[in-house]
Amino acid sequence: MKRGGLLLTIAVLLVVILLALAAFAPQVAPYDPLAQSILTRMKGPSALHWLGTDQFGRDLLSRIIFGLRASLGISGSAVLIALALGGTLGLLAAYYRGWTERVVMRAMDILFAFPVMLLAIGIIAMLGPGAGPTSLAIAIVYTPIFARLIRAPALVVVETDYVMNARAIGATDLRILLRHILPNLASVVLVQTSLLLSTAILVEASLSFLGLGAQPPTPSLGGMLSDGRNFLMLSPWSAVFSGFAILILAFALNLLGDVLRDRLDPRLQ
């Protein structure tokens, strides 16, 4: 219990800080993330620029804070779309069984057959690079994952006595789904959303590292890492800090999901 408590505190604290930084980026960032300065190019950390500056003299800390915002915005919206879409499909498949389930899950199997990064790259190749296409691509790739993750526990809940009872007293399908089944899946949804948001952050960072995500001059963590790589030997700061920011963001969300899962499912301890 103690172990879960300490780790949960660390995870929640990290996630809250990162979310706050992203939400209040314009207020928190010490500089304009796009403001260039020829005189202070590629400087190391100093009192003026805590994390140093990039090849255009832009403040790295400010760019990373705005990068967190872009990263969370793109991956967060993608995961929410995937949760809504995949969750609904998984729920309907578990509730109606039969042909609904067969058709839905086969369709999900087909999407699931593509390696995640590859399908995302393919979708962006067709739509053109950018923040919107990246978000859409991640949403499509994550939809079958959510459908599978929601369907399995939903199958168990559908068979419970209270769902049978609700059906017996003539509750409508919609009411049963929303009032009786969905609330019982809340913990699964919470854990998986946290874990999958963590991996979505990594996919988004990979895509923007490849130049397919949010386009310059918009600060994106993957894009900064890619820029930093080109100037690695002259000034490693951009590459070091932007990648570390990706790690911390993905780490915090993954740890949160991991600890919550341990708490909600004691068997896995």
């Binding site: 390696p115 190749a125 590459a239 993905a250």
Partner: protein, 314 residues
């Protein structure tokens, strides 16, 4: 036998679906795909657009297009690259070796390291290490391999300035040079796999240690180390095998990104180059080829699983 038949039927259905989706890719490009592919320059005439359209077959009814496309693919003809005029299959074959080697090496490293690490994690459970192990394993899972790769380059450049670690040399030309160039990207790629498999092995070990056969072994006086390694570990390795199949998907995607970091001329360079040139038929064919490989690997893993675990067969 029933299992194999139903798996094969599933396989055909999934491959059919994958082929339809991949086929639709070019057709779903917003706007005129052919005009986009040719780009905006003075040489683009309506004639050239029409010629390219008929070359890709976009001027036929869509069902006919699909059947022609699929028929050609089943005969091993993935089409012709738009700009080089080389068969696409040849371009893919030229780039497949570095990626396959990188993925295989990363898988071997990840799985190989995961066994001792996972066993150690199970062994250390409840001995005051739990918080550190959980933080360490989550960090291992979430470390971006492309960043780890860049940090490795940074560190190695400082430590061993003469080491050639970027680029690629074929393994048969210079085995040592090949290894020196592949080991670091493979390590960067393998760390999340290692963390994932080690965690899986840890929980499988802990579960196996509570089973009746372990209790029986202990009761009849088998040494604890033997119980641990022979009875528990051998059973814990079964779920390990299945997750290797899923890992292949991560490997193929991750390799594309890590290749860029270490300047390895693999499938990642081919696909990203094709995207930059708007060479959509090449992108389409590469995605189809890689996904088919991934699907087949997963079926093989499933069958292997059934072969080593008799409970699955019944």
């Amino acid at each position: 036998m029933f299992l194999i038949c139903s798996r094969l039927l599933d396989l055909l259905l999934v491959l059919f679906g994958v082929s339809v989706l991949t086929f639709l890719m070019i057709r779903l490009i917003p706007g005129d795909a052919v005009a986009i592919m040719l780009g905006a320059n003075s040489e683009v005439t309506p004639d050239r657009i029409a010629a390219l359209r008929s070359q890709i077959g976009l001027d036929q009814p869509i069902l006919l297009q699909y059947l022609h496309w699929l028929g050609a693919i089943l005969q091993g003809d993935l089409g012709v690259s738009l700009w080089t005029r080389q068969p696409v299959s040849q371009e893919i074959l030229q780039h497949v070796a570095p990626t396959a080697e990188l993925a295989a090496l990363a898988l071997a490293l990840g799985a190989g390291l995961a066994v001792p690490v996972g066993v150690a994690m199970a062994w250390l459970r409840g001995r005051g290490w739990d918080i550190a192990l959980q933080i360490g394993s989550v960090a291992g899972l979430t470390i971006p391999s492309f960043w780890l790769g860049i940090m490795l380059i940074l560190a190695l450049t400082a430590l061993a300035p003469d080491l050639q670690m970027l680029g690629y040399v074929p393994i048969f030309e210079d085995p040592l040079g090949n290894l020196a160039r592949m080991i670091f990207p493979a390590f960067a790629l393998s760390l999340p796999i290692m963390a994932n498999l080690a965690r899986l092995l840890r929980s499988a070990m802990l579960e196996a240690l509570q089973q009746d056969f372990v209790r029986t072994a202990r009761a009849k006086g088998v040494r604890e180390s033997l119980v641990f390694f022979r009875h528990a570990l051998r059973n814990a390795l079964i779920p390990f095998v299945t997750s290797v199949g899923i890992t292949t998907g991560y490997l193929l995607g991750g390799a594309i990104v890590v290749e860029q970091v270490f300047a390895i001329p693999g499938l990642g360079r081919l696909i990203l180059g094709a995207i930059a040139e708007r060479n959509y038929p090449l992108v389409q064919a590469s995605i189809l080829a890689i996904t088919t490989t991934f699907v087949l690997v997963n079926v093989l893993v499933d069958l292997l699983y059934a072969a080593i675990d008799p409970r699955v067969r019944s």
